[in-house]
Symmetry: C2
Subunit: 268 residues, 2 copies
């Protein structure tokens, strides 16, 4: 948690760049293989690190290349400057015994600072992650996709609220955060009412077109870390071979736009 | 689906051996490294294949070793006789774009016959798996762990039932199955009432002590594939260096016990 707070403060940035590196979208000048993957991710990191508080690595985009994709992921993690916060966007879930192996994977084998976890299987599936007291576990709350409405709103209060409420009882080490989609800013407000101090990881701005101002207005809470995740809108802003220049510009713009909104809100 | 039905028929077996290979439990004569992992899994496969309709590989136990664990997993998959059904117990979940990369990972990169998927994120997170028409996607229903009661029973009817009902509308290619814990046989009966034809993957017998007779009584439905998953009770039945002999005996006993119950039920 300290590392995240420091990383946000040092850069004056709430921006988290999502490394969802897909050969379908990246420049045709980059080969569609693991070498391309490594080149693309490292170029994006070099271009954006000045404006970035955190990098989020979605495991799907590395696993798809088999074991070689995981080797590349490890080198990418080593390439990210030590002071920048890293998140394994793995959305894992399993019974306690297996979950402890997933926790070990991401926190010990790969040394991530945080992970995303799917809470559907309940307390014993989440606890092994929480046992790593220095790491943050972001539980999926109300996600940014259309399918979020299928099950996350079931019940009264809706399921995602019941998850937030119950998770407070599990939060013995103050290391539970939530993934909340920017496409549903009202839900972010309800989360802040129930669990004001939870660190938030917010996807859904950019390609998924959530409202940035409304999102920050509802998510910002002094002293509680908040990360706005942008992936495609930065990674694929330009698909020529100088993609990293446009990525840099985009990252800078997002960092400043977010910072301006936060400043406006904290002065008002 | 055909492959699963054939595999069950060929072996007269509903047994699925779960390769949850943990150095905490395996024989001390086996080294605690990836070489031990490979030796242990291959020994178990050799010992049990005669009695086994399917192998379930829980990703957590391979990922924990980093990229080398995934290399071993690939070799283990090649070692499993072609006619035996293979399941990636990955419990993945993500928004559509990322989910399509997970689907590609398990069905194309690793050539599994089936996968387990966490349905919390709804339709667009599940569809990319269903698009592989020849593969089976087992959604998590009511799982076998204690934490299942935290959220899977929320709502009226309970969440897991709502998931089963909704999934019928998604089942355009007849390739949706469910993971249902043997620790709650009544829920299996409700599933059979709602979705009689769903293939079932049933953990919770053995180490988690579900009731085998009651489970099969509620799960068995002629023409609908059913797999009873046993992991620890076979893998760690003996922790000396001749562990595979006891594993073979245990697999044989489970296969026969299950088959006897099925025969009794289909005659009555």
């Amino acid at each position: 948690m300290n590392k995240l707070t420091k990383s946000i403060k040092n850069k004056d940035s709430y921006l988290c760049v999502g490394l969802d590196a897909s050969p379908i979208y990246w420049s045709q000048d980059i080969p569609s293989n693991v070498h391309g993957l490594e080149y693309f991710c490292k170029s994006i990191i070099e271009a954006t690190q000045e404006y970035t508080a955190a990098y989020k690595l979605n495991l799907a985009f590395f696993e798809v290349w088999g074991h070689e994709g995981l080797e590349v992921m490890q080198r990418i993690l080593e390439f990210i400057p030590k002071e920048i916060f890293t998140i394994a966007d793995a959305k894992r879930s399993d019974i306690g015994h297996s979950a402890s192996f997933y926790a070990k994977t991401f926190f010990e084998t790969y040394h991530f600072d945080a992970i995303t976890v799917n809470p559907y299987m309940g307390k014993d599936s989440v606890e092994p992650f929480l046992d790593y007291q220095e790491k943050i576990t972001f539980l999926l709350g109300l996600t940014s996709n259309e399918g979020a409405e299928d099950f996350q709103l079931v019940g009264q209060p809706p399921l995602y609220e019941q998850i937030i409420k119950k998770s407070i009882l599990w939060n013995l080490h103050n290391n539970i955060g939530f993934v909340m989609g920017a496409t549903r800013p009202d839900a972010i407000q309800r989360l802040r009412n129930i669990f004001p101090k939870a660190p938030l990881l917010i996807p859904g701005i950019g390609a998924q077109s959530g409202d940035l101002y409304k999102t920050i207005q509802n998510a910002y809470f002094p002293g509680s870390p908040m990360l706005i995740t942008i992936s495609r809108a930065i990674l694929y802003a330009d698909t020529t071979k100088s993609f990293y220049q446009k990525a840099k510009e985009k990252a800078k713009n997002f960092q400043q736009e977010i910072d301006n909104i936060v400043n406006e809100l904290s002065l008002s």
